[in-house]
């Protein structure tokens, strides 16, 4: 089973790289936020997978929970910041 988890984790990391396209090249700021949010939800699963590979799930569950919470807070804060203080379009435009 450990191998299955290992390769699943690697595959998830690959998907995160794929999603990284949006934060890097997304035409508007909100596109970048979508990418960051998607990466965050994958990271939560990845943390639990790492915990199962190391046989220390009870530790990594706490980290995953905290990560999910802070990810949510970060997305909320970023969206609120951009809609209130900044123009939303790309900084280059």
């Amino acid at each position: 089973m450990d191998n299955v988890f290992l390769y699943s984790g690697l595959y998830l990391a690959f998907l995160m790289l794929l999603s990284l396209y949006r934060p890097l090249f997304g035409p508007t700021v909100v596109d970048r936020m979508i990418g960051v949010n998607a990466i965050g939800s994958k990271t939560t699963v990845l943390l639990i997978l790492i915990g199962l590979i190391f046989h220390r799930v009870e530790m990594f569950v706490d980290i995953a929970l905290a990560y999910a919470m802070l990810n949510f807070l970060a997305v909320l804060a970023a969206s609120r910041y951009f809609q209130k203080r900044k123009g939303l379009y790309d900084e280059a435009m």
Partner: protein, 107 residues
């Protein structure tokens, strides 16, 4: 037992793949939110249910509580993810981002 766990995990990974590809392929910001908001949430649900089941292999109170904690993450994400999606879409609307309609060039 292992087969069920693998089934759940792979179903979750499948939906995650859909989410990642959808974020890349869809033409504009509003459409991209659909895969990001839905597919990732369901993928997380399926993958975490699979992992929580696997964690119950050596059944004891400790592993049961750990699995309950994993389910707690799922519940949290199910509350938080639509809200985060809504926050992002709200930011887009307030900025006056026009939705893509059929026949336009992709952005």
């Amino acid at each position: 037992m292992d087969i069920i766990v693998c089934l759940f995990l792979f179903a979750g990974l499948f939906f995650f793949t859909g989410g990642a590809v959808g974020i890349l392929r869809f033409p504009d910001f509003y459409c991209r939110l659909h895969p990001a908001g839905k597919l990732d949430t369901l993928g997380l649900l399926l993958a975490l249910i699979g992992l929580a089941l696997f964690n119950l292999h050596h059944f004891s109170l400790g592993t049961l509580l750990t699995s309950a904690k994993i389910i707690l993450i799922v519940v949290f994400v199910f509350l938080a993810s639509p809200t985060a999606t809504h926050a992002i879409v709200d930011a887009g609307v307030r900025a006056g981002l026009a939705p893509w309609t059929k026949g336009e060039k992709r952005r």
